[in-house]
Symmetry: C2
DNA sequence: TCGCCGTCTGGGAACGCTCCCAGTTGCATT
DNA sequence: AATGCAACTGGGAGCGTTCCCAGACGGCGA
């Protein structure tokens, strides 16, 4: 097959103007819903548009307005995130939905970790996007710094970073972790441990702090196992270690559902029943939670809303509105199932 | 914070021309790597570009060339796909990598199932994208039909559809299913069942046909359980039913790794050991495979390559090359772990 | 010497919009 | 009747490229 170009003779704004018997300017005003257009002119234009099958040429508009009407989604370390993060899909859908409502296009800027952030910086400064949403940046992130310097409209999804002046949309990891740990404690558990992860990010630190706060005096640092990743394997390794250190453990807070699933696997292997002998709670309310045996009690993250709100913040900045740089925290909810 | 516009005074091709002491046309020729530029002019232009910090304005180029230099990725039913399909992430990365190598931009066209395909058709015909990649279309897909009518450069990922003239990149589900079933049979299993899914797509049908072909005379329709989704829960339900029907089953081919994980859960619950009492094999080689206890023997799908090849097909069409409409099948490989 | 051709260059003319200014109405107010 | 103002309209200018044509230059064969 040879590629055919799409029908070459596309109608332009001039064709519409000619058919409607008005000028180019009036058509443009109708298209952009501006004031000062008579009802007669408006309906004539609308009729003409459907008659000639007019579709706006974005390239021309972008050139004239010096805006791209596109917002970039910067995702770091694509493989780990795209393939393992249970929330990224929902976040993406939330962003996409908010942007398309506002007639903006989402372009995905996947960053290969082996390339320099220079390439991204150039892309961002190249006017290809009007704004940018950054998912899950680490502290001291080079791209975050570039965005801050460029002064481009931006928002972070996930958690605050060490950069001033850029809003973020996240959840209150501290309170959520504290709440579910408290709830676990209320089921009568006395020796509660935690499998922590992602301590290089605020989210991970906050979950651990929340856990500690919930336990108060009964907190025992011995019962906190630190692992690098939020993965199933980390839960397995962490739980083995914990069981070794404290065979009398009767409650576990895992920093993610994937880890909690690993924890349950290890407990079963060791002949402990869940929730009979040990209560287990997770974090995320991802697909892991319902597929686990037994289904996990966990913290529900409003991932879709996280994306939507971040996109709305960028759009507001693009409209020239003042947005809150302190960021916003979305509500989490405890989902109590059978694992504790 | 008030949004600041990115540095307003961006260098244009004219600035470069002025600094290099050549004309606009020469700069353009250098930028597009055209012939007939003297070495002196070329290096002067290159120096000038870096001196003034020139970055190409895509809107202007798109307007002048009447091309968008963008390729759309159409994803249906975003929720089920994005959130459950273990391959979609890799496919996306593969596409993105091929496109950015060729200086094309990926724009994601997520289709909300409740809206009409009309909106997508308009988008596609609106010149916003030069080509389109469609992931996992069903038979009789309306958007696939629209693409075919438009004659826009396109490729399908996943499996052939009922549309003529559009290439696809997929795997040979029949052969792969046959191969892994045969391998399972060779481990000495006599009563082999299958948990099938996705029979509304060719991929699902082919996997079942491959299973049947591998068993030959020993095929027993009683041992095939049909479920709607490739999900963990389908594996659980399907295996319960199968165990009920045939308590002597000693081998199971699940149509996806997620289902295979569900199968294993049910077997454990029923006191059967894997692979001791029952051998289980899956399909996909997704994250489910390695996290399962025991790790799954399964069929490896080259998801990233699937995306890359589809993108390359679209790019070839865009260059006006003739591409094979029959599509291409990529090699799968059996990954033998511990579950069988 | 002349003419030709291949190599290289400059710049006018689009591409299809938006912006903005200069008008032209029609109506209320003086 | 004259004035002012709000409501509306037309069209020139410009956004930053690419495309393409006209032309300059130099080397080479006749």
């Amino acid at each position: 097959m040879t590629a055919r170009r799409a029908a070459s003779a596309r109608a332009t704004i001039n064709d519409v103007a000619a058919v409607a018997g008005v000028s180019r300017g009036t058509v443009s005003r109708v298209l952009n819903a501006e004031a000062y257009v008579s009802e007669a002119a408006r309906s004539a234009v609308i009729d003409a548009i459907s008659k000639v099958g007019y579709v706006r040429n974005n390239a021309a508009r972008n050139l004239a307005t010096r805006q791209s009407h596109a917002v970039g989604l910067v995702v770091h370390e694509p493989h780990s995130l795209f393939l393992e993060d249970p929330n990224i899909g929902s976040i993406l859908l939330g962003i996409n939905s908010a942007l398309s409502d506002a007639d903006y296009q989402l372009v995905s800027l996947v960053i290969d970790s082996d390339r320099d952030s220079h390439r991204v910086a150039e892309y961002l400064s190249g006017g290809f996007v009007d704004g940018v949403i950054i998912v899950s940046a680490r502290a001291h992130d080079p791209i975050a710094k570039v965005v801050a310097e460029l002064g481009i409209a931006a928002a972070f999804v996930g958690h605050p970073v060490d950069i001033e002046g850029i809003p973020y949309v996240g959840i209150d990891n501290f309170s959520a972790a504290k709440a579910i740990t408290t709830r676990l404690k209320e089921t009568g558990r006395r020796r509660i441990g935690m499998i922590a992860a992602g301590l290089d990010r605020d989210s991970g630190q906050d979950r651990m702090a929340g856990f500690r706060a919930a336990l108060g005096d009964s907190f025992d640092a011995e019962l906190v196992i630190t692992t690098p990743l939020y993965a199933h394997a980390s839960g397995v390794d962490g739980m083995r270690l914990l069981l070794d250190r404290a065979p009398d453990v009767d409650g576990v807070f895992a920093a993610s559902d994937a880890m909690a699933a690993g924890v349950i696997d290890v407990l079963r292997e060791a002949g402990r029943s869940v929730p009979g002998d040990v209560g287990v709670v997770g974090f995320d309310d991802s697909a892991w939670a319902t597929r686990a045996q037994p289904p996990l009690s966990t913290v529900h993250q409003p991932a879709g809303q996280l994306g939507r709100r971040a996109a709305e913040s960028v759009l507001a900045q693009l409209r020239g509105e003042t947005v809150d740089t302190d960021g916003t925290f979305l509500e989490t909810a405890i989902v109590w199932r059978d694992s504790a």
